[in-house]
Structures are given as C-alpha cells and as structure tokens.
C-alpha cells in the first residue's frame, strides 16, 4: 500500500485556561495564564507555590459518580478531551470498523496523583481508600479506558518518554494511519499535577517562583501544569469522503536521544537538532518550508538557550526570522501532555492565522535571540509548523504539521 496522507480531524483539550478547544484557544491568544496559586494539594513549605491547575474541576460535571469511581484525575481529563475530539471529528456515534481504530497515548506521571493519595494512607497506616484506587496506577490505563468506553478494538499503546511522550504518540499514530495499519488513531495524553512531580522539580530547583518566562533573560525555571489533549488522525481521502473538517496534515516526525545526561540537555542541542532534522527529512520538505515553531520552551535556564542554538543549527540564518512561541507560559509545563497541547495550539494557529504569545516577557536574552512571539498574539498566516518536545533521559521528539494543500 502506498503511504496515505494523514490529517487531523478532531481536537479535544482541557487545561488550566480552558475546558475545551474553543475556550482554550480564546484564552491562549488573549494572553491569559492559568499559572498561579493552586489548591489540589497543600504546597506549604515548597520553595515555589504556584502551578497551572484546572480549577474547580469535578469529574461529576462530566460523568456519573459510578463511572468515575476508579478513574484518576488524569483519566478524567483524558476521557473529557477524547470525548471532545471524537465529537469534533463527527465520530461521537462510533466507528464503522472499531477494529481499525488505534489508541496511542503518551504519559509521564499520568494518573499518579490518585496513587499518591492511596500511598500516603498506607504509609500513615490509615484504613483508607479501597485498593481499586490503584487501578489507575498503570500508565496504560487511560488507553484502555478510552478503548473500552468507545468499543475500540484496534491496537493500543502508551508511550512514556516523560515530556516528549505525546509527540511520539502522535507520531506513532501517524505511522499506523499512513501505512494502512489503522484507519483512525485517537492520540494524545493526559497528566495531572502530582506531589511527586511538584516536589521533584522543586528539589531540583527547576521551578520559577513566578509564572514561567520562556526565553526571557530573568527566567528561573518552569511552572508545572496539568491537562489533556487528544487528536483524531485519519487518512485524508477517507476524511474527504465522509465530509470531515480537516485541521491540518501531519507531514512527518522524528525522535532522537541526547545520550548526554539523564536530566540536562546536551549543551549543543545535538539530540534536538537530530529530532528536528529527522522530522523534516520524513516530511519530505526543506527547512525553508517551516514558518512557525512551537517550541519546547520550558523556561529553564538550560533549555531555552540550547533549544535556540539547536534551532539555529537546523535553520541557519533563517532561524531569527521564524516566529517561535512557548505556550507553557499560559498553561504551565504539562509534562506528558505538554507535547500534544503545544501541537494543538500550533494547529489552531495554522487554522486561524494567529500565533499564540509567549507570556511574561520583560528582558531579551542574547542567548535566546529568536523571533519569539512575546506577550501578545501575532496575526500572521503560516503554512508549516514544527513542534518540539524534549524530555528527561534526553528523549527528543519533533513533529511537523502543515495547512492542507
């Protein structure tokens, strides 16, 4: 079978700045941030006490009490985003051939927040929650929840490469649909704030006490966030035949390892360069075609200048003329779901001709001398966007979306 062109036909989002794709996009381009004080757990005693929480959230707003009994917070986010994405794609009533639908997700800490609550009760020797609470522990649980809820019997997989998980998961879905191994892929991921990650990034002194400031000279680190993003992928011909709305086409993706350090990025961005170049190669385009970059842009002192350096290596003298943004300043770093949320923002930018801003900018950093869309959304039609996601372990992923031609 010849490779098929793969398009995105449905989007679903839940994040601190919006409970659906429309609210998310409106608040994103309005320059709102979800980063601030939070109450999911008590941050007293931590050096940093802010995060981008999905506030006032209750699973019962979406599902029955019985349905949510064994679901983690991340599972709930994921199911909500999947429901929206399927509805957006016009597939809410099911699939003709559910065995041809893949569910490929990404996760980092996933639903571990629920497990933590159980673990604390065990540690304190309290007679606490029912052990079925532990069912949300396995990282593959959300893929099963989505598959079982919608009766999808195609392949299921969960990728866990920390913060690059969902870009690789979208790439996997792209592979399977392009090569005819599946007719649809439900792909993306979900992540909730957790004490494990919040304390971990605090102990590593990787968090900024203020809302994160990607590419700013005064940046001190990241802000954690939570949320879910889901996408529906399908072959272009089939989407056309069923009259589905098509947001964008996936052209290619690439992954690479830094092989440098378990937490720090390669100082020259070697792995980042490789993943971007592999994506461009698979896309069958030249660097000149990329006119927008949705950056990993964590706002850590190390990431932003290294990503800048890597972008310069890949795009040469054009690098300073390509608009770059990091939506982590709006929704925090959502770890496992950071990739798909960045990708959804990029796809909506292609669609609307508006580039979302990188907030909280005050002072230019000479080591981050890219054309960053600082503080305000920019109206600019773009055709092809590169999305980056880099992770602990030096696990890098990049993917390219384009407007439909």
């Amino acid at each position: 079978m010849n490779p098929r062109r793969v398009v995105v036909t449905g989007l679903g989002v839940i994040a601190s700045i919006g409970r659906n794709r429309i609210e998310f996009w409106k608040n994103l381009i309005a320059g709102r941030t979800g980063i601030g004080p939070f109450d999911l757990f008590d941050p007293t005693g931590f050096r940093v006490q802010i995060a981008a929480q999905v506030r006032n959230f209750s699973g019962t707003d979406y599902f029955s009490r019985r349905e949510i009994q064994r679901l983690s917070r991340a599972d709930l986010f994921g199911l909500i985003a999947a429901q929206e994405a399927l509805g957006d794609a016009g597939l809410e009533n099911g699939f003709e051939s559910p065995d041809r639908v893949a569910v490929f997700l990404g996760a980092a800490a996933g639903g571990i927040y629920s497990t933590e609550i159980y673990r604390q009760e065990v540690h304190q020797r309290k007679k606490g929650r029912h052990p079925s609470f532990l069912l949300s522990f396995p990282f593959g649980g959300l893929a099963d929840q989505i598959g079982n809820r919608y009766g999808l019997t195609g392949p299921r997989a969960t990728i866990n490469t920390a913060c690059s998980s969902t870009i690789t998961a979208i790439g996997l879905g792209f592979d399977w649909v392009r090569d005819g191994l599946a007719d649809f892929a439900v792909t993306g991921g979900a992540e909730s704030l957790s004490q494990l990650t919040f304390s971990g990034f605090n102990t590593l002194k990787a968090l900024d006490p203020q809302p994160c400031r990607p590419f700013d000279r005064q940046r001190q680190g990241l802000s954690l966030g939570e949320g879910a993003g889901m996408m529906i992928l399908e072959p272009r011909e089939k989407a056309q035949a069923r009259g589905a709305k098509m947001y964008a086409e996936i052209l290619g993706y690439g992954t690479s390892a830094d092989a440098h350090h378990i937490t720090a990025p390669h100082p020259e961005g070697y792995g980042a360069v490789l993943s971007m170049r592999r994506a461009i190669l698979q896309a069958g385009i030249t660097e000149a075609a990329v006119d927008f970059i949705s950056a990993h842009g964590t706002a850590t002192p190390a990431n932003d200048p290294i990503e800048t350096r890597a972008i310069k290596q890949v795009f040469g003298e054009r690098a300073s003329r390509i608009p770059v943004t990091s939506i982590k300043s709006s929704i925090g770093h959502c770890l496992g779901s950071a990739g798909v949320l960045g990708a959804e923002a990029a796809i909506l930018a292609l669609l609307h001709g508006v580039l979302p801003p990188t907030l909280h900018f005050k002072e230019r950093d000479p080591d981050c001398d890219l054309d960053v869309v600082f503080n305000q959304a920019r109206e600019k039609g773009v055709d092809t966007v590169l999305c980056n996601a880099f992770a602990f372990g030096g696990n890098n992923s990049s993917i390219i979306f384009s407007k439909l031609r």
Binding site: T158, L196, A257, I262, F392
Partner: protein, 404 residues
C-alpha cells in the same frame, strides 16, 4: 509453516538477566533443566505484602559490570537494563562508533520502571516534607530511564522510546522497532524489556488480590511477580549478513489489537485474542500454518490461563497436538516487560533445536497446585515460534519468529 513471509528484521544479540540466572546461557540452561526462579524474596522486606516470594534476580551486583559512578544514581530496573545491554551488544558483535551511534536506537518496554526507587523518593518526601525529598532519586522515577540509561551508557542517539502498556509493553517495543527498522529510521535498535520487583509493586498486586498465595503456585490462583531485563539487538537482515553477525532468527510477522474489557481484567470471550493470532499468521503468509513452539502469556491467572488455552485450541484446532506450549512465567515469574525475554527464549530454542519445558493444558486443572507438572526439555525441530502477548485492560499482541 510453509511459504513464510518476513519482515526482514533479524535478532543478532541477546542479553538476559532473570530469576533463572544472570547471563543468557545461564538462564537458558537453568530453564532447560526445569529449575524454578520462584523463591522467597531476599533483596527487600516485602513489608506490606502478604506475599513473600517471587521470581527475583538473585546475586545481581552491578559493581561486577559497571563503575559505581555510573550505577549509583540508577534504580534497579535501569541497572538490570544496562547490564543486559552489555551482553546483548557483545553477543551481536555490534561495534558502536561515531559513524553509527546516531543510527542505533533504544526502544524499551516496562510496566513500572524503577518502581522501588520511585516509591523511595515519595517516602522521602512524605517523611521529610518538601525539604526532605531526595533530589538524587527523582530523575530515575520516570519509566523511560531504563532505556535512556542504555542510550547514555553506549552514547546511542538513534530513535528512542519507551512503552508502558501493562503486560504487552515489550511486545509493543519490539513491533515498533521492527517498523522503524523497516522504514530505515535506524540501522539497529536495542529493544529492552525490563521491570523490577519492589515492595510497592508487591503491595499493589497483593491488595488487588492478583497474586498467587503459594510459593508452589496454585493453577488459576493468580500471578507470581518476577523481575528481569532482556535486551535484543534488532537489525535488518541485509545488514546483519553484511557484517556477518550471528542471526538467532527473523521476525516473520506481528499483529496488534485489543478487546473490550473491564479495568484490570482480560477480555471475556477471547475473540480479539483469537483474531490477533490469526492476523499474525496471515501476515506471516499462511493462516493454516502451525508454529512448532508457542511462548504463552499464561501466568497462573484464573482468568487468563484457561482463556488462552481455549483460544489457542480454537485457532490451531487442525493441528493442536503438534504444538509445544512453553509457559516461561510458570518458571520465572512474570513482569510487564517480559515479552523481550519470551522472544529471546523462542530464539534460543530455534538456535539449539531444543524444546524447553512445556505443558499439556489438558492436565492443568484450575484450583490445584501446579506441582511442576511439565514435560521436560527435549530436542526437537523448531523452525517457527509464536509469542502471544495478552494483558489485563485489553491489549493484545502477537509475534512470529522463524529460523533463518
């Protein structure tokens, strides 16, 4: 199995650490001898769990293989994985240099990664508060660190990924590796399937009533947890032939699907399980072909084992008696990333033309002690092997391998 198709992907190196031994040949020899890796746990005190036995790797000393500077910050799963990769690469004779390190990838399959270290980190936080959490432990809490440490140790910069899909995590890594090699995205990929036994994992499976209660397991009484790491070196056949690498066997075909289940359970009727095997056989070129040896998913589970035996009997009704069924998990315990080890055992069986210990399901009665009622290892012609991968939650995988 006639008229075979092929993926063109071969296995050229194997590294094994498991409850039946450290090192490929030791593990294989002990398995052939019918030894059991299921023993009282020595490495930690399974405090909160009522179960005090499992398929533990005994006597594993990372300092025998790695510098303390390298392994001191790693969790046990990462250590097992890196040490297994040393053996696999040496076995494959694959020299890594600046010309090929960007083209060699690492794909991992693990259920829970460094679960012991992750729990240790969380306990340090619970006991010490925000200032007491140990930052040195945090980095290895993400499940992708086992694969990442392999890439770090050997400085491999090819494609990298980690799958965490319950009991088919390593099968997914193997299948994705085959596809990436077919697409030319890498010259070789190290596939690692790894998990560790830890107090928190023992506790979780124990309170969910998923574990067998007897060190002499009861059939259908629940699984026996194990641990280990297996690394396979996968590459395209032409490359392996070009560099005159030893070839254990070829991946003939693979398939993936899923069944609709309740959380934590297996598919009731086994319809999708049956389909995934049939699809794998069709892709392999002949639906009515019969593998010589099947590596079973069976793990003493009351749900899975009878279902798997029934599914296999239905699929191979035309030649059921001619197939040898190998239940490795009955001997070594089970871990989520075990698919790589099970594939390695199929390949070693093909290499040595030895059928490892097998079971006759007609003699296995649920609810009774297993009493190690197996048919001992014996010489036999093995040209094709099949691996079933079924997991709670609904995912299914199947891989076929063949002699080259």
């Amino acid at each position: 199995m006639n008229g075979l198709a092929s993926t063109g992907i071969v296995v050229t190196g194997i590294g094994i650490i498991g409850s039946l031994g450290i090192g490929r040949e030791t593990f294989w020899k002990n398995f052939l001898a019918g030894q059991s890796g299921i023993k009282p746990i020595q490495e930690f005190d399974p405090l909160e769990s009522k179960i005090h036995f499992g398929g533990e790797v005994e006597g594993f000393r990372p300092k025998d293989y790695l510098s303390p500077l390298v392994y001191r910050k790693m969790g046990r799963a990462s250590r097992l994985a890196v040490v297994a990769s040393l053996e696999a690469l040496q076995d494959a004779g694959l020299e890594i240099n600046d010309l090929n390190r960007d083209r060699i990838g690492v794909f991992a399959g693990t259920g829970y990664g460094n679960s012991g270290l992750t729990d240790e980190y969380f306990v340090s936080f619970m006991e010490g508060g925000p200032q007491g959490a140990n930052p040195l432990l945090f980095a290895d809490t993400v499940p992708n660190t086992a694969g990442s440490h392999i890439s770090l140790y050997h400085r491999l910069r090819g494609p990298i990924t980690t799958f965490c899909q319950n009991l088919i995590s390593a099968e997914l890594a193997l299948i994705y590796a085959c596809r990436q090699l077919q697409a030319g995205s890498a010259e070789a990929i190290l596939v690692v399937g790894v998990d560790e036994l830890s107090p928190i994992i023992m506790h979780a499976f124990s309170v969910l009533k998923g574990l067998n209660s007897s060190i002499n397991p009861i059939l259908g009484g629940g699984l026996v947890l194990g641990e280990g790491a297996c690394v396979l070196v996968l590459e395209r056949r032409e490359q392996a032939l070009y560099r005159r690498a030893p070839i254990y066997g070829e991946v003939a075909a693979f398939a993936l699907n899923s069944g609709v289940t309740r959380a934590g359970h297996f598919e009731k009727e086994g319809r999708a399980m049956k389909m995934v095997i049939q699809e794998c056989l069709v892709k392999g070129g002949d639906r009515r072909r019969t593998p010589d040896l099947i590596s079973l998913s069976a793990d003493f589970s009351g749900e899975l084992d009878p279902l798997e035996f029934r599914v296999l009997r239905e699929v191979f009704e035309y030649d059921w008696s001619g197939i040898a069924l190998s239940p490795l998990k009955y001997f070594a315990g089970e871990y989520a990333g075990m698919g790589a080890l099970r594939l390695a055992i199929l390949l070693l069986a093909i290499r040595d033309q030895m059928i490892p210990p097998t079971v006759n399901p007609d003699q296995l009665e649920s609810g009774t002690p297993w009493d190690r009622r197996y048919l001992p290892a014996r010489p036999g012609e093995i040209n094709q092997g099949l691996l079933t991968g079924f997991t709670f939650g609904g995912g299914n995988a199947c891989l076929a391998v063949q002699r080259v």
